[in-house]
């Protein structure tokens, strides 16, 4: 249990325990606040309430089985977690994924980014007292979840991205469904902006709140919208393109104010960019084509082949009983999750189970900047700062 020693006597300060069951901590984050009146002198985040030992569990699963665990880390970005894990294992194996599968991956993770930012915007607006926006944001998010359900059969724990490709062929009618969403979304983003961007209360709550300089953010390893709001145009999709991102045209929105308001503007602009990327991906994805790479013994064979070819049947059996064994070595893959740089480090010792799986989760690392943001500010601003860091506790604690 984290405790704080406080001064006594005339300069006595008060310690307030915020969380772990506090709605604005977006889960089970506990922050110990040492207060002088309403001013925060010191903030100490206390984590671990949602620690489930995912990394340890991965070591006891075969490489393919561990995919389902990744869904459960950042529950607002399950497809992104699937992707980074699969990219790391594919790197370890030296697999190339068919272009069509890469484009579908890009389309889905960008839809996921929009849905994640929608949840962020809705809940953050709710924290700041703008309740109606949450209803609007969740309405649009529902449409994205319907698309995921159509693709994966699951709204949230998709496990749709697999090692070497995708789990299933895209469903019939997906193109119209996604296009319908794309036509709907930009006017809706305009609507949110009409409600918030020039809103005086919104600006009053966010402008100039939670400033941290770009140098401090880099020293604290912060990535994602928080860093881009400080003027550093670092985005994994541009810096280290994966899954054919180099073929897509999009901008990396940045601001220079580095306050909560700038982080809000960056995220809204990112939603618009994601819509652009999804639109390009829809054009690029062909109607026919492979969604899995040809890698006997690693990627499960087509159902049809299993019924006609002995080899395919044997491989299928072996993949699902014993798994496959990548050569000994390590791989570190990174993607740009809605929250920042999401990394996955996989070490193999040549056995069918990973020696080590480690996730570099952006929520965990970005949360380190919280004390820097709130110390010296008002207690009410702590809520705004936690909100704009955009943490998902499932990913912080893993």
């Amino acid at each position: 249990m984290t405790t704080v020693e406080t001064a006594v006597g005339a300069t006595k300060s008060m310690v307030l325990n915020m969380g772990p069951q506090h709605p604005s901590t977006h889960g089970v984050l506990r922050v110990l606040l040492e207060l002088d009146g309403e001013n925060v002198i010191k903030a100490i985040p206390d984590l671990g309430y949602l620690h489930t030992g995912i990394e340890k569990s991965c070591e006891d699963k075969t490489y393919s089985q561990a995919i389902t665990l990744t869904d459960r880390m950042d529950y607002l970005n399950p497809l992104g977690n699937n992707l980074v894990y699969c990219l790391a294992v594919e790197k370890l194996l030296g697999l190339e994924v068919p272009k069509r599968a890469q484009y579908i991956r890009v389309m889905l993770v960008e839809l996921q980014r929009i849905s994640s930012h929608l949840v962020w915007l809705g809940t953050h607006a709710l924290d700041m007292g703008a309740m109606s926006l949450m209803l609007y944001c969740f309405r649009e998010r529902e449409e994205i979840l319907k698309i995921f359900e159509r693709f994966a059969g699951q709204r949230m724990m998709t496990s749709y991205i697999r090692i070497g490709g995708l789990a299933l062929q895209p469903p019939a009618g997906w193109r119209e469904h996604v296009k319908r969403f794309l036509d709907m979304m930009p006017p809706r983003i305009d609507e949110y902006e009409a409600l918030l961007t020039e809103n005086r209360i919104w600006q009053g709550r966010l402008k100039g709140v939670g400033y941290v300089s770009a140098e401090d953010l880099i020293a604290l390893s912060t990535t994602g919208p928080g860093l881009r709001a400080a003027g550093v145009a670092y985005d994994n999709r541009k810096a280290f393109p994966y899954s054919s991102y180099e073929e897509f045209e999009f901008n990396v929105p940045t601001r220079t104010e580095s306050d909560c308001y700038a982080r809000y503007l960056v995220r809204v602009a990112e939603m618009r960019e994601s819509v652009k990327i999804v639109r390009q991906a829809v054009e690029k994805i062909t109607d026919e084509g492979a969604i899995k790479t040809e890698a006997p013994g690693i990627v499960p064979p087509e159902r049809e082949k299993m019924k006609t070819e002995m080899e395919a049947l044997i491989y299928h059996f072996k993949i699902f009983t014993e798994g496959f064994s990548p050569p000994p070595g390590e791989a570190f893959a990174t993607v740009e999750s809605p929250r920042g740089e999401l990394g996955c480090f996989v070490a193999s010792d040549g056995s069918p189970k990973p020696l080590r799986v480690h996730f570099r989760s952006p929520s965990f690392v970005n949360l380190q900047a919280l004390p820097k943001m709130v110390e010296g500010q008002l207690i009410a601003d702590t809520v705004a700062c936690i909100g704009t860091i955009d943490i998902v506790l499932g990913e912080v604690d893993r």
């Binding site: 480090f345 020696l355 690392v365």
Partner: protein, 159 residues
Amino acid sequence: MTQLANASASTVVEKLRGWNPQAVSQVVEYRGEITIVVPKELLRATAQQCRDNPALNFNLLSDATCVDRFPVEPRFELNYQLLSIPRRERVRLRTSVSIQRPVIDSLVPVWTGANWLEREIFDLFGIRFEGHPDLRRILLPDDFEGAPLRRDFPVEGKR
């Protein structure tokens, strides 16, 4: 891509060798990723050099993690993923510590962001970081016994 990685690998390694020939004890290249194995004693100095040398400029510590190679000795392998935002390059520093003395220099003086990453390793692997300002458990409760991510810790937990 691999070609590019090769070219810059040699510059990173060259710069480090030029600064201190002992700093690079081995260079591993696998799947386009460069791992520089650094002796334990020189870890902090090498990290400092990686950050401050303008030709290297690894300004962000992306990740730090540990791999337990039990029963091989020294069994703990610490991996630091360095990132240079201006130069768009990554490199991995690696060093090993043994179970007899699981202690290593903290990198918090170099990158403040190492703080929680090292606390996580301390928490889950029981490796102590010398010079860390606030070395406490971070994910597990304070009264938890053992280091659960060690390979000799049972998956189902100790009962």
